[in-house]
Symmetry: C2
Subunit: 498 residues, 2 copies
């Protein structure tokens, strides 16, 4: 019985591949044209008019594919919404993507205009520009498109549109209601999103959420991510003399804010990188089952160390995937006086540490911030939420100003969730490859508003290459990933749930 | 007998004041004109042509006063030398000053051109510009001249020239051979000086050295300084991933260079500011006599704390003057990633601490740097003098690159030195005020080459007001200090040593 089933699966898979390789390649050609058109509309969310122009393009493109569309006003820039006509019997999938992009500094790009897509082929260790005329019919999947948001996150939108086209060509029935919500301020922290999700709750109601953003696992295997870390920040400032003083006149007399800050930070972690503040890791336990899921991810800790050039990783987890199950306490910035050529012989007036705390489901951001503040108090410091007044400076020997950033929550969907199993099975069948399941990814995506409000399971299904230079100059997408994304959407949107 | 002597002193002092108050004021008027002329020649040592123009002015002005002059070529910009015709019987005084000035940013000054002297009078808590026509004959000693190098250090040169004029008018015999050496790169660390002093050794030979630079004590009493701290620097760099990494992906996995640096720095001092590295303070002891000299300086630790707005000073010494008898270990700069608006969610690639070590006579700069390096090694770090190679990064967990700055030695002349006693007595008689004797000032003046090469006692005799905004915009000199400086030079250069 089992054998028969797997034979059936195999033949299904085979037929899907056999018949669609040419069709997919032809669809990829269409997608490339659409990506060039879409990228040509600048998408830095600092410019509201550009965001509007993107929305006009999206209205037309989703409309052409039979979606009903809406522009949802928010406290900030509008969101774009599209939905297939609702059928009550079908389950509803909500797809989240974003069409805004990071700001660009054209002088740092190896092409004249980051909004004009350039085609490049690999050449030794670099890439060489190729005319689009050379693309031909037999598109080379190793060539790449370069431009802002080619990977993050415009191409995935175009992949969905082209998967819809291919489904239509193949006469496939879609067993879901599809809702699409496209963010216009993701690169600016999606500030309007929580209120907007509340406001448009009914419109967004669905059975599960799929976030299509970010790269697949470094192995380039199909990847499903069940959760991500949240984030919050703390800024610590210690104080020396009210103005910088000559280090000859006041060195070893006026209090040095750098030593104060160093002594404070040094108490927060052991020398192997574990946070020593009591309670910081409370509630987290990795059982045997979880451990084997984490270990099933084909990471090489040695390869990471080799790539990042360090001998030993911090010891929060025993290995990379385990480390990501814990909250972090990271010094992202230190500043006091000047360093390098600008260094001056002064006792600086203050020293600043910028910390970010990546959160996991077990760790509440406000609770962790309070633990850090309590710890600082226990070191003999008075914690203020403002710059100290002269009276406070004269009253207390050790003062820290602590500024708190907002909290974006972590999320984690159960690995046994049936929608998750459905996505994994579909990807496995579409590509005939083991699907990598990531319990928690290290970074943060701003989807907790959906989860908090809609109470639905969420999954990140990344489709772009890991080496896409996301957020940096020379962002790109490997053309083969366009085929991957189109096929991934095709598979998920044409398969029945068991 | 004693009584008679002090009566004589008193009458001498009285007569000096009675007769010269008008004469000094007239001389101050001449000095003001000469200062305006001298300041009008820009003196940033980055511009060699400007330095040459200053030297042309000095040649003429010292020549007019009967000095023989010479321009001494060096590895850098030339030094200016002037000497009265030598008489073998007289002791020789060598006077060091400098005519170069700190760079200016005119936009930060409250006057159009920092090289065009502006006259201002105090008005509430600030100053109000006054036309030079309003100066009149009865010059107001509380008015000020504003411009680059009005205090640091061009006016003192003009005070010497005008003291020479007044001595001539009064027909005074000068019981010294006078040699004057004027530095052209003091604000750029006087790099050519050590080699130049060696090269021109015979020319510079003298019995004692008087440095006329810097402000008098905050009390504005006559001040003689017997020593100053030296300086050297260390730059420490710790390392994280080879390039900045996303703090979500690699926070609490890739080593954080900020925590490493904090832990390293935290071990170097106790929480009250004392260096805990064994041997750092070796050889220093403050005996009863020294303690009373230090305590005779009319400082108010309370006033300093009030002014700099801190509750408690570091505990290296029990009070301000005592603290300056010890070497410092000062964090003058910290840098890692970004802080403030530019903060980014990264694990930075490195963290840097800029340290300066102020030295005293008992502490050899190279020895202290070695103590710090040994201490770092004892914390489990490998100390490199270069950026680590990939091999080194993969071989060692904890790496610090230590860059060492050059050493400028401290100096300290014995407080019983007869030339010192002579200067103190003369100032005491000229002004009828207690002379403040500073054993070691906190800052550094680059005169160790003279002391090392010529083996002569050295004294700093500051003449300008403490609130002169030295090195900053709106540098100024109180006109009363011109009278002070002229009288100080007059007294010293016309008094016989006992």
């Amino acid at each position: 019985m089992k054998k028969t089933l797997s034979l059936v699966c195999l033949s299904l898979t085979f037929s899907l591949f056999a018949q669609d390789d040419v069709a997919v390649k032809s669809q990829v050609a269409d997608a490339i044209n659409e990506i060039r058109e879409f990228i040509a509309i600048p998408n830095d969310a600092l410019d509201a008019a550009d965001i509007d122009r993107n929305i006009m393009w999206l209205k037309r493109k989703f409309g052409d594919r039979g979606f009903n569309t809406a522009v949802l006003d928010t406290e900030g820039l509008p969101l774009f919404f599209a939905a297939t006509p609702v059928s009550g019997e079908k389950p509803t999938i909500l797809i989240y993507m974003h069409f805004d992009g990071q700001s660009v500094d054209p002088s740092k790009w190896d092409q004249p205009n980051p909004y004009q897509v350039v085609l490049k082929k690999p050449s030794d260790d670099t890439f060489e520009t190729v005319s689009f005329d050379e693309l031909g019919d037999d598109i080379n999947y190793n060539w790449r498109l370069f431009g802002r948001s080619t990977s993050d996150d415009k191409s995935p939108i175009v992949m969905l549109l082209n998967a819809m086209d291919l489904l239509k060509k193949d006469g496939k029935e879609i067993p879901f209601n599809i809702k699409v919500i496209l963010d216009s301020e993701e690169e600016k922290s999606s500030k309007p999103l929580p209120a907007a999700v509340k406001q448009y709750r009914e419109l967004l109601e669905s059975d599960f959420l799929m976030i299509v953003d970010g790269p697949v696992h470094a192995s380039e295997n199909p990847t499903v991510v069940y959760g991500c870390r949240g984030i919050t920040t703390l800024t610590l400032t210690t104080y020396g003399p009210i103005k910088p003083q000559h280090s000859g006149h006041y060195g070893n007399y006026a209090p040095n804010p750098g030593f104060q800050l160093a002594q404070l930070l040094a108490t927060m972690k052991d020398t192997e990188g574990r946070v020593t503040i009591p309670g910081y890791y409370d509630g987290i336990s990795i059982d045997g089952k979880t451990d084997s899921i984490l270990k099933s991810v084909p990471d090489s800790d040695e390869a990471i160390a080799e790539k990042l050039q360090f001998k030993t990783a911090e010891k929060v987890g025993g290995y990379y995937q385990e480390a990501l199950q814990y909250p972090s306490l990271n010094i992202r910035g230190l500043g006091s006086g000047w360093v390098g050529d600008k260094a001056r012989t002064i006792v600086p007036e203050s020293a600043i540490a910028e910390l970010d705390l990546r959160l996991v489901v077990e760790s509440d951001g406000n609770h962790l911030k309070n633990l850090v503040k309590d710890h600082i108090t226990k070191q003999g410091y008075i914690v203020l939420n403002h710059i100290p007044s002269k009276e406070e400076r004269m009253q207390f020997d050790k003062i820290v100003t602590v500024e708190e950033g907002s909290v974006t929550d972590a999320f984690r969907t159960d690995l046994d969730n049936p929608y998750g199993k459905f996505i994994v099975n579909t990807l496995n069948q579409s590509f005939g490859k083991e699907v990598i399941q990531i319990r928690t990814m290290g970074g943060t995506v701003p989807i907790s508003p959906f989860i908090n409000e809609l109470k639905i399971p969420a999954f990140i299904v990344p489709v772009v290459n890991p080496d896409n230079n996301q957020h940096s100059p020379n962002e790109n997408i490997k053309i083969g990933q366009l085929a991957y994304g189109i096929k991934a959407f095709y598979g998920i949107l044409s398969s029945e749930m068991n």
